[in-house]
Amino acid sequence: MIAAVHLSTDLTVWVSALLTLMVFSFLYRDNPFYKVAEHIFVGVSAAYWMVIGFWTTLWPQVIVKLLPAASRVTSPEATPGPADLTALAPLALGLLMLCRLVPSWSWLGRWPTAFVIGTTAGYGLVRYIRSDFVYQIRATVGRGLLPMADGRWLWQESLAALVILIGTLSGIVYFINTREHRGGYGRIAHLGLLFMLVTFGASFGSAVMARIALLIGRFQELLGDWLGLLS
């Protein structure tokens, strides 16, 4: 089962194994190795995002649209179409955003910000009302509290519907913020809080599996790829 140690001879495996250990060393306490890993990470990831953003989005959506001939640079066999001047708008907004780098012009950067916020607010409003309000009301109502099939009462579905109804309603009551939680009303709100605690407990329990999976992944690489201990 446990084979002898076969250290990897691949340089890249060594680099990633060492970086892995440098990060794990933070579990003991903060130390220079962790700091090195942290600072490499910050630099590499910021640049990676910029590079990916440039080639996947800025290039096709702005540069190629304005200068169709540019598409030959990345794929020589492409046939450039006509220029699309609507791409000037995001380019202009983007340049305004970069004005934030110059303190005296930084106020211009608020316009693209306003566009971004306006877009999210506009799209978000309707999408949230549809998916997280209307659909949820429909789903809670379902087939009522006494669903039947072939003249038989489906008691398990019935119980589930009742629990969901009570939990959802008392939870909504908990979130009513312009009224103090007192008396009978407060007790309903408290019931809502208890339901949410069940939710949080379930989430926490479920999350454990997620986290352990990541740890297993790292150990597989350390023990397998690097030390050659796993068959």
Binding site: S16, L19, T20, V23, F24, E38, F41, G43, V44, A46, A47, Y48, M50, V51, G53, T56, L58, V73, T74, A89, L91, L93, G94, L101, W107, W111, P112, T113, A114, F115, G118, T119, Y123, L125, Y128, I129, D132, Q136, I137, V163, I164, I166, G167, T168, G171, I172, F175, M196, L197, V198, T199, G201, A202, S203, G205, S206, V208, R211, L214, R218
Partner: protein
């Protein structure tokens, strides 16, 4: 004045997009101008938004460089670490923009398997990412040790629901309750844990969702009506 322009941009964009959700799709050129305008906005604004996201990455990157460059220049505390950030940033930027490795010149995909960027991704970024996440496995074990104590009704409920879900996910939990006879099978750990997720969890999540949906609507309305102070402070206007 400047502030008013900002507000006008925000409100106009938002209202156009809200209207576009209910507008009839224009069919042909004789469709009303308004519906064609709304369709144009619906189609293009999300593309523009995405382009702006890339400009935001860039703004972030340049800011990062400014901060760390200043530290290196002033020989501030820990400036050597800042130098590491600068060097790794510039290296990846050059490698990525020039598409080193991979197909000749600037051709092909930046994430081509033999490109240097992919090499950096697999040897540096990927293990750093994954290990930082894996720290969570340790943190979640110490946090659950600390947090799941029977102190009150509330914490007991939290504990019970977490334990059932935890046990329901592993074979050990299933074996523990496998002896339960036929009418009580729903109490078996794996079924009970799925029931908790499907029923009380759904209720709690739904209450949160409906509340948040209303929160989103309210925030959007405040933004459109110019009643939101949160974005951007007050100076410089």
């Amino acid at each position: 004045m400047r502030r008013r322009i900002t507000q006008i941009i925000l409100s106009t964009v938002a209202l156009l997009l809200i209207a576009s959700a209910f507008a009839t799709r224009p069919s042909g050129d004789d469709a009303p101008v308004l519906t064609r305008l709304l369709a144009f906005c619906d189609q293009h604004f999300s593309v523009w938004f995405s382009v702006l996201a890339v400009f935001a990455f860039t703004l972030g990157g340049v800011n990062l460089m400014k901060t760390h460059w200043r530290k290196v220049r002033d020989r501030a505390a820990d400036w050597r670490y800042s130098l590491i950030t600068l060097v790794s940033f510039v290296t990846v930027l050059v490698v990525g923009l020039a598409k080193f490795g991979g197909p000749p010149g600037l051709q092909g995909d930046v994430t081509a398997p033999d490109g240097w960027l992919t090499g950096i991704f697999e040897t540096v970024l990927s293990p750093l990412h994954a290990t930082l996440y894996a720290l969570l496995a340790f943190y979640i074990s110490s946090a659950s040790f600390r947090a799941f104590r029977i102190r009150s009704t509330a914490s007991t409920i939290l504990l019970a629901s977490a334990l059932i879900v935890l046990l329901g996910r592993i074979p050990f939990g299933a074996t523990m309750t496998a002896w339960l006879p036929a009418p009580l099978t729903f109490l078996r750990m794996e079924d009970l844990s799925l029931w908790i997720l499907k029923v009380p969890n759904t209720a709690g999540q739904r209450a949160i969702m409906i509340g948040i949906a209303l929160g989103v609507v309210a925030m959007a309305m405040r933004l459109i009506m110019g009643a939101e102070k949160g974005q951007g402070g007050r100076s410089g206007e």
